[in-house]
Structure formats: C-alpha cells, structure tokens
C-alpha cells in the first residue's frame, strides 16, 4: 500500500516499510498497551472503526479531490442496517455486515448520480443535506429505529464456520475481528489506489480540466469514487454497531461527517494512512477532553480551527514535507 504523492515514491523502499510495520505492530498489540496508558480496548476499536470510515471518505476527498461533508449518512446507514438485520431478521453477524454495507453503499451510489455534475461547495451542501434525511428518519421513526435513544436490543452474534465458531461477543476477540476486517478493507483500498483507476482519480484531483482533455470521463470516475467510498464507510458503520451493540441517530448526523473530514485532514489528506492516524488522534483527544470537562465541544471546535489555520497538511503531510525537503 504505497503512499500516493509522488515524492513518496522516490523514497528508498526501506523508509516506506518501517512506518507501515510500526502501524501494524501498534494495532496488533493495542489491547496490551492501551490499558497501561489509561485507555481501554473499545477505544482501540473505535479508532479502527472511525479510521476505516475516514479512510473511505479520503478516497473521495484526498485522492479524487472531491469534498463530501455528509459521509456520516452512509456510516449510520451501515450501523442501522446491521442493527436492524440482527434485531428483526436473523441473528447473523456476517449477514448483518452485508446488509449494512449494502444499504449505505447503495444509498451513496444512487445519490451520487444526482449530484455528480456539481462541484465544490454546492456539492458539499447537497451531501450534508442528504445525510440529514436519514437522521430525521432515524430519530422520528420510534417504533422501528428506537428514535432518539437509538436502536437497541441486538448484539453481535458468534460466527459459525462449519464446525468452528468464532465467538466475538468478547471485547478483545471482537477487536481482533475488527482488525481483520479493517486489514482486508485497507488492502482492497490500497489495491484500488495503486491501480490505473487510482492514478486517474489523482489526475482528476490535480487538474480536472486536463484530465477531461486527456479523454478521462471525469463525472463517471467521480461517481465511482464516491460510490466506493460510501461502501467502505458503510462497512465501518456496521462495525460501529457491532462494537457498541447499539446504533444511534448521532451516527447519521452531519457533525460526525465533520469529524470524519477533520480526521482525514489532521492525519494528512494526501496520504493513505493519514485518516487512520487522524482518527486515533481525534478519538483519543475527544475521549480525554470529554472526561475532563463538560465544555468539550468548545475544545473540539477549537481543535478544528487550529488544524485548519496551523496544520492544514496534517501530521503525515508535515512529516513528509520535512522528509523530502
């Protein structure tokens, strides 16, 4: 999974290998060292979930150069889809994940068709507004979705593989399950980004007009990128529901969309792993602050503003700058 910006391709192969190994090592051993720092396994799970969602968004934002501020809609649809499946239809985790991912992904695919000709802030406005539809449905439709209190009454089920059963009800086991899912999704995303398709997306990001005049069907590619990013984010949503055994309307609200964007920006929009790092930073900071003060919103808001004003390239962006300079 190469980092994208061309300067990275010129770094010697060793330098790329080390940070990647470091990340995986940290992720694999998280349940061991996290409690030592005052954290807990579910926090790591949260980082994975949000990290995957932010990486999904970043396929569109950082690699294609298109801004969606409404990706929470697909995340939430993934969560509700999985939860509703488990609660009302069949107690099967794989099916729940499939249902949630399809629900969120298809919603995005269809919506993408409507707005793909728009650009910039207008496009972003539409994505925000679209997300809110589901937010309102979720918190109004009490009987079905549990309304403002959220959808409860389901939990992650053990997965049967023929004779073997994978019991993921335990927190730590579920963390490793999520890690496997995350790894698979990240691998898939990496394949896409390194493929000619991925390079085309980057061309569109760099200079849309030039891309069009090279013969690239720009709108179709943007729609594809949008659609694929929604599927990944929806998958993350299903994990969210399974992690918490619970799905709430806030998973659909545009504030969460904003969180995904800031995670991608904080970690570094132009890099593959940036959103994961951004998610880690955001989750940790938010967890810490909200336990300290009731005015956590001010601090989160301030964090947004500081990142925009002083660290627009994000963590990896800054490190890369220094490395290649």
């Amino acid at each position: 999974m190469t980092a994208t910006v061309i300067t990275a391709e010129r770094q010697p192969a060793q330098r790329r290998w080390l940070p990647r190994a470091g990340i995986w090592l940290a992720l694999l051993t998280a349940p061991l060292w996290l409690p030592l720092l005052g954290g807990y396994t579910a926090l790591a799970g949260k980082v994975l979930v949000f990290g995957l969602a932010a990486m999904g968004l970043n396929l569109l934002l950082g690699f294609t150069g298109v801004l969606s501020f409404g990706h929470a809609a697909y995340f939430g649809l993934g969560a509700y889809g999985a939860g509703l499946m488990l609660k009302y239809v069949v107690p099967s985790t794989p099916l729940a994940m499939l249902a949630g991912t399809l629900l969120g992904g298809l919603a995005g695919t269809l919506f993408g068709v409507l707005i793909v000709r728009r650009r910039g802030v207008y496009f972003a406005m539409c994505t925000i507004a679209f997300g809110q539809i589901f937010y309102y449905i979720a918190y109004s439709w009490n009987e079905f979705t549990g309304g403002f209190d959220g959808l409860r009454g389901f939990h992650r089920e053990p997965i049967g593989f023929g004779a073997l059963t994978l019991d993921i009800t335990d927190g730590t086991r579920f963390y490793y399950f999520s890690l496997v899912v995350f790894a698979a999704a990240a691998a898939l995303m990496g394949l896409l980004i390194d493929s000619p398709f991925g390079r085309t997306l980057r061309a569109i990001r760099e200079n849309e007009r030039r891309a069009r005049f090279l013969g690239i069907p720009v709108e179709r590619h943007i729609w594809l990128s949008f659609s694929i990013s929604c599927f990944f984010t929806a998958l993350a949503g299903t994990l969210y529901a399974l992690l918490n055994n619970f799905a709430d309307p806030l998973a659909l609200h545009y504030s969460l969309s904003g969180y995904f964007v800031i995670m991608a920006v904080m970690g570094g929009m132009r890099s593959f792993w940036g959103p994961l790092l951004g998610a880690a930073m955001f989750v940790v900071v938010q967890d810490y602050i909200s336990s300290m003060t009731v005015n956590w919103m001010s601090f989160v808001g301030l964090m947004f503003m500081l990142v925009v004003l002083f660290f627009p390239r994000g963590l990896l962006g800054m490190l890369r700058r220094r490395g290649s300079a």
Partner: protein
C-alpha cells in the same frame, strides 16, 4: 478532417460566436486570428467540446460530434492545449506525458492491475519527449519548469494521445522571443515532418505567417475573412479590424 457549419454560441443575450463555418483539410495548418474578444477561444471550446454550440454542427473525421462530450472527442482523435497551460504541476514531465499515453492505451480506466502492454505507453512517452526536446528534463516537476517547457510538456501530452487533430490555444502566449522561436520550430516540425493536422489560435503575427497554410479571421464573433496568408495580409477589412482594436 474538420468541418464546422454555422456554429453559434450564446450566453444568454451575449452572442459570443455567430454563424462561423470552417473547413480544415487533413494535414493542413490553420491559424485562427482576430482582435481581442473576437470569440476565438469560445470557438475553440465549441470544436473541442468544452462547450456545446447553441446552433450549428461540427463534423470531425466524417463523424458528427456536435453532441458528443469533450472527453469522448479526445477518444476520437482531438487533442487540445490551453491558453493557460493545463498540466499536472506536482508530477514530473515524464509522469504528465505518461498519464496521457496511458489513457490513449485504454489503461487509465481499469480498476485492477495493468494490462500486459503497459510497456507500450512508456515507449510512446519516450518518443514524445524526444519529439519536443524534453528528454533531459523528464524527471523534473513540471511546476518548476519554465513557461516554454511547460507548454512543450502540454504539447507532448496532447501528442501522446495519438491525435488526428491538434488544437493549440495560443501556444506562444506569455513567451519571450527565444521560447517563441523554439515552440514555433516545434510546431513546424510537427506539421511538416509528422504531418499532423493543426488548428491554432495565435496573436503573434510572425508565428502565424510563418506557420499557417490558411488563416481564418474572426471579429466580434463573426467570420471576417479566410484565405492564404498573402490574401489575409492584403485584406483591407482585416487591417481595419485590427487597427480599430489598436485605437
């Protein structure tokens, strides 16, 4: 090769192009000139598909492309450069031209792995870089190069698409004498040696008269005159249009 019939373009009540027709033969180099605001770039946009005409038809290589979007016209063999150079500034010269070559080889649109003939695109790139004289600068970031070299890169990209028709929008815009000389030489080679059909917009009359087989003159959105360089140079109407503008 290219036949435009009665093309017009309105933006609301503003008529940018009115009833302009054009016929370019294969292998011809046609220059489109005219005072500022004559609608030359708009006309170009109609030909390349960046804009759809309000009326009229555009036939390219025997095919009616009036309603066909820009990116498909590229696939049919039209390649275009822009007045303000449009390249990928954060990529190297090599990568810029490679992206064009890959699209031409049908590669860019694939999601999974490369096709076996990935090597072909590289050959094309090498060939194009040699043609425009940028081999020594192939690994420099385009954003860091001089104006002339950026323009040359853009031309190389257009060529890598293996076009039948090359559309150049003010290729010498913003260039000093030396660079103008080099670009003009390049275009001349493309026309004479490689036998490309070229339509270009130009303001620099020395370039126009040096290169063009035929010249089309636009003024205020309308076709003012068309003919060989000698005919145009002798035309009183053309002189009046330009002098009127200079005043």
């Amino acid at each position: 090769m290219l036949r435009v019939q009665n093309a017009s373009k309105n933006f609301g009540s503003l008529v940018a192009v009115q009833n302009v027709s054009l016929l370019v033969q294969t292998g011809e180099l046609r220059a489109i000139i005219g005072p500022n605001g004559a609608g030359k770039t708009t006309f170009f946009n109609l030909i390349s598909g960046y804009l759809a005409p309000s009326s009229g038809t555009i036939v390219f290589d025997g095919q009616d492309v009036t309603r066909i979007p820009a990116h498909r016209r590229v696939g049919l063999g039209m390649a275009r450069t822009f007045q303000i150079t449009e390249i990928f500034p954060e990529l190297t010269v090599h990568e810029n031209v490679l992206s064009a070559a890959e699209v031409a080889a049908g590669q860019r649109l694939r999601m999974w792995t490369e096709r076996p003939d990935a090597g072909r695109a590289e050959e094309v790139v090498a060939e194009m870089l040699a043609l425009v004289g940028l081999v020594s600068k192939a690994n420099r970031l385009v954003g860091e190069l001089s104006h002339g070299d950026q323009r040359a890169t853009e031309i190389a990209m257009a060529l890598a698409l293996r076009p039948k028709l090359l559309l150049l929008d003010e290729p010498t815009a913003g260039m000093g004498d030396q660079e103008t000389y080099e670009i003009t030489g390049l275009i001349r080679r493309l026309h004479r040696d490689s036998k490309f059909t070229i339509v270009l917009i130009e303001h620099d009359m020395r370039v126009v008269f040096h290169l063009a087989d035929r010249i089309t003159v636009l003024d205020q959105g309308r076709l003012l005159a068309e003919g060989t360089p000698d005919e145009i140079a002798a035309s009183a109407a053309v002189q009046a249009a330009y002098l009127g503008e200079a005043a």
